[in-house]
């Protein structure tokens, strides 16, 4: 399977020019904020000045009376949805909570929570009108720290929230939304077998995905109730479905046209503005545009969850793991739904161990509702396990990669989350890391090295594709997933491969929700896997149709017609190319077109390894990354350049989370650093060139061997960086980010 998949391709695996490149570098591509309509209004949102307060009254009258103001709303315009989790393709959503997050009802739960909105003829008038809205609040005690939020005397956000998953039903409301546990074997016996036990507690800060493009949309509701949305998101079908729920209107009355997306990383997997703009458009009879400011993005859109990860691991002298016990506590923000349980399922996934347990706690705080950030929950969870494994390796004087190889899972092993692995490339990736020159570079004084492994499940889910072959032989490949990480290129490559035609003849398009079958959102590293599979299936239908048409033209049995290099072939006849068959489409059955939809099974898990070398300035505490190597089993790399881009991006985001990025709140629960000047993401000058190594262990569950690529790269950098810093200074820092202040304090304490 592996050799067959790796060696059989003609187009796949090439570094083709990106189909959307020219439009993007010349500024012609349309992002969410680039859309405008005649008669359009601008809308702005009034946001809570308090971290926790009861809304006692809202008076819109003065705002509505202002010249130029056409509509103003509160949450009263949205139906009060029933609470409870509903399946939404990727995981579950409580649409009552989602609606309350779009616009607060009786309480505001975080500073920046939307309270009201105004649509006016200009942005300036809309902003002035916000100031005329009178809101009375009863300020309540707040809590922004998950450790504090779990205390018995903490302010409770939701009086109707009782911890789910306890052995006995909870007697009182709590900020702990749920507790879940998985265990195997006998922990006590496992620790009793251990020659060494290391136990640590790690703190991970809230970090934002930091996408460049703020959330933006234009919405027009006509007099028939038809809702047209142009928006940037990770899934326009998701925008349609979620907006439908929040507005209480039929899915069929909403059409969403995808804008280009300027980054998402999981942060654009929900809606904030679209239902508000639709409600304002319905009331004003005019199209409405909304664009968040950078400050709004930081204050009111989902960052990644802060966390506390407690880890205890035991091992024998030879490095064999005997017991692993962990607690993953993640911050959901204002509404339940942190990825704690997901992270807990990832943290042991790379290793075999007979005795282990994870406990996951989902905790709410008076902060913005968190959202996914690549492999949600996995980076936080991996930080704890991987750092402790490095410490065990140090104590036992075992090479940290050898320790991992000794315990690494392979095909046939049962993953901690339950299923048995099919073909996986963890060991190959670890061996490649050990052989890499960067792993053998001598370290100078003040330098340190760290190694870590990351894991992500990868997803399948629903995808659709349509292929239209034009006269002349050009091919339109139409899918329904926003292109975040190069999916246009991968769709084109897979279509060209399946059809056997030159890549240049393929034109990939991303259609609106009315023009292609349903697609789950772009996330979970599913698009190249699942949407690509739909493209392959549609292309194979085209090939089959071409064989039948050629057989009819040649007056031969279709079974005597084969397909090779983009042409129908039959002994005794000149080949008929796709272009030639398209030219005869009218007399052979009509337009040459095919569609395919699937709910893809067989997603192959991905493993990544990070190697990091740092240099620490002992006078200032500043950490410099001097070498970073990202290695990953990607299945089959459809477009290696894009795959490397994903690996580099994940590495940089993980480095930023480890060293610099964090939400800083004041005593009133207000975010103090809602901008890129004070929220310090790494820039090019902060980083070395990221070395990437692609390992190709094809996924047996996909016709071309594809695994997901986008999530694993962010899982391992935090522990690799943290370990490198600890090695450099001889300390055991466990609270991130590793700011100069923290590093200096650690040095001072030695």
């Amino acid at each position: 399977m592996r050799d067959a998949v790796t060696n059989r391709f003609k187009v796949i695996g090439t570094r083709s020019v990106r189909p959307d490149g020219i439009e993007k570098v010349t500024g012609q591509a349309n992002y969410g904020a680039d859309y405008s309509l005649p008669g359009m209004l601008w809308a702005k949102v009034l946001r809570s000045p308090h971290a926790h307060a009861r809304i006692t009254s809202i008076d819109l009258s003065a705002a509505l009376a202002m010249p130029g103001v056409h509509a103003a709303i509160t949450s009263d315009v949205f139906p009060d949805l029933k609470a409870g989790m509903e399946d939404s393709g990727e995981g579950e959503v409580d649409f009552h909570d989602l609606s309350c997050n779009v616009m607060a009802r009786d309480k505001v739960l975080y500073h920046g929570h939307a309270v009201a909105a105004v649509a006016a003829t200009s942005e300036r008038i809309a902003e002035q009108a916000l100031a005329a809205i009178k809101v009375d609040y009863e300020v309540l005690p707040h809590v922004v720290d998950i450790g504090v939020a779990m205390a018995a005397d903490a302010p409770v956000l939701h009086q109707d929230m009782f911890t789910v998953g306890l052995a006995e039903p909870a007697a009182a409301p709590s900020n702990i939304a749920s507790r879940s546990e998985i265990s195997q074997g006998d922990l006590a016996a496992g620790f009793a077998q251990a020659d060494i036990i290391v136990e640590r507690s790690y703190r991970i800060p809230t970090a934002h995905q930091g996408y460049i493009e703020p959330h933006a949309c234009v919405v027009s509701v006509n007099q028939d109730g038809q809702v047209d949305i142009w928006a940037s998101s990770q899934g326009h079908f998701m925008v349609r479905d979620y907006t439908s729920k929040v507005l209480g209107v039929a899915v069929g009355s909403i059409k969403v046209t995808p804008a280009e997306i300027g980054g998402g990383f999981g942060g654009k997997t929900t809606v904030y503005l679209e239902p508000v703009a639709a409600a304002l458009s319905a009331r004003s009879g005019r199209p409405v545009k909304m664009v968040m400011t950078r400050e709004e993005v930081f204050r009111a859109t989902g960052p990644a969850a802060a966390g506390i990860v407690n880890v205890r691991i035991g091992a024998r002298d030879d490095g064999k793991l005997t017991a692993m016990d962990s607690e993953v506590i993640l911050d959901a923000g204002a509404y339940k739904g942190s990825p704690a349980a997901t992270g807990a399922r990832c943290m042991y996934a790379p290793y075999n161990c007979d005795n282990r347990r994870t406990v996951a706690l989902d905790v709410v705080t008076n902060t913005a509702k968190t959202a996914a950030y690549r492999a949600p929950g996995a980076p936080q969870a991996h930080l704890g396990v991987e750092c402790v494994l490095n410490e065990i390796a140090d104590s036992l004087d075992i090479d940290p990669i050898d320790l991992r190889l000794l315990n690494a899972v392979d095909e046939g092993d049962r993953a901690f989350f339950g299923a048995k692995y099919r073909a996986i490339g963890l060991k190959q990736t670890l061996e490649a890391a050990k052989a890499h020159p960067n792993y053998h570079r001598p370290l100078a004084n003040g330098q340190g090295r760290g190694v870590a492994v990351g894991f992500w499940f990868n997803f399948g889910l629903q995808s659709s594709a349509t292929i239209n072959v034009h006269e002349g032989g050009t091919v339109a490949v139409i899918t329904g997933n926003p292109d975040i990480g190069g999916s246009r290129a991968s769709m084109a490559l897979m279509a060209a491969e399946a059809l056997g035609v030159p890549l240049e003849t393929i034109k990939p398009h991303i259609a609106d929700t009315e023009s292609v079958g349903y697609n789950d959102l772009t996330g979970g590293s599913r698009t190249t896997f699942a949407s690509g599979w739909a493209v392959i299936n549609a292309a194979e239908k085209i090939v089959e149709s071409c064989r039948q048409r050629a057989a009819a033209l040649w007056e031969v049995d279709v079974e005597t017609v084969s397909w090779a290099d983009g042409a129908a072939v039959c002994a005794g006849h000149d080949p008929l190319t796709l272009a030639q068959l398209a030219a005869k489409a009218d007399v052979t059955g009509g337009p040459l077109t095919a569609s395919a939809s699937l709910n893809a099974k067989g997603a192959g898990p991905g493993f990544a390894v990070s190697l990091c070398d740092v240099s620490v300035d002992r006078d200032t505490g500043k950490v410099d990354i001097i070498s970073f190597t990202a290695l990953q089993d990607v299945g089959k790399a459809i477009h290696p350049g894009y795959v490397e881009g994903q690996m580099e991006g994940g590495a940089v985001q993980g480095i930023g989370w480890a060293l610099n990025e964090e939400y800083i709140f004041d005593s009133q629960g207000r975010l103090e650093n809602p901008g890129f000047l004070d929220y310090r993401m790494p820039v090019a000058s902060d980083l070395p060139m990221i070395d990437t190594v692609i390992i190709e262990c094809p996924n047996p569950g996909h016709p071309y061997g594809v695994r997901g690529v986008g999530e694993p790269p962010i899982c391992a950098p935090m522990p690799a960086v943290t370990t490198a810093v600890n090695h450099a200074i001889g300390a055991h820092l466990t609270t991130l980010p590793l700011t100069p202040e923290r590093v200096l304090a650690a040095l001072d304490s030695l």
Binding site: S183, F265, A419, K420
Partner: protein, 86 residues
């Protein structure tokens, strides 16, 4: 007979062993619907609303449409809590 692996919090509904432990049970069923029926006969608390919250892996493959799958006598079916992604 196919094997069903019950992970994590499903144990709350089965009463098997300690909470959170992974447990395996044998079922006489060759499709997913029959698996559910048999599980629910064994463990009445495993209602549809509970099982619907779990994804399914059959013989190591995550399956989105288990109702369309058939099982072999040596198949292994694992219930895995649904996960969200970015």
């Amino acid at each position: 007979m196919p094997t069903v692996v019950l992970t994590g919090d499903l144990r709350r509904y089965t009463g098997l062993g300690e909470q959170g432990q992974i447990e395996e049970v044998q079922v006489q069923a060759l499709n997913y619907r029959a698996v559910r029926r048999e599980l629910q006969a064994m463990f009445p608390l495993l209602e549809d609303a509970v099982l619907d919250k779990y994804g399914v892996a059959i013989d190591g493959v995550m399956v989105q449409t288990p109702l369309l799958e058939t099982l072999e006598p040596d198949s292994e079916l694992v219930f895995i809590a649904k996960i969200a992604a970015g």
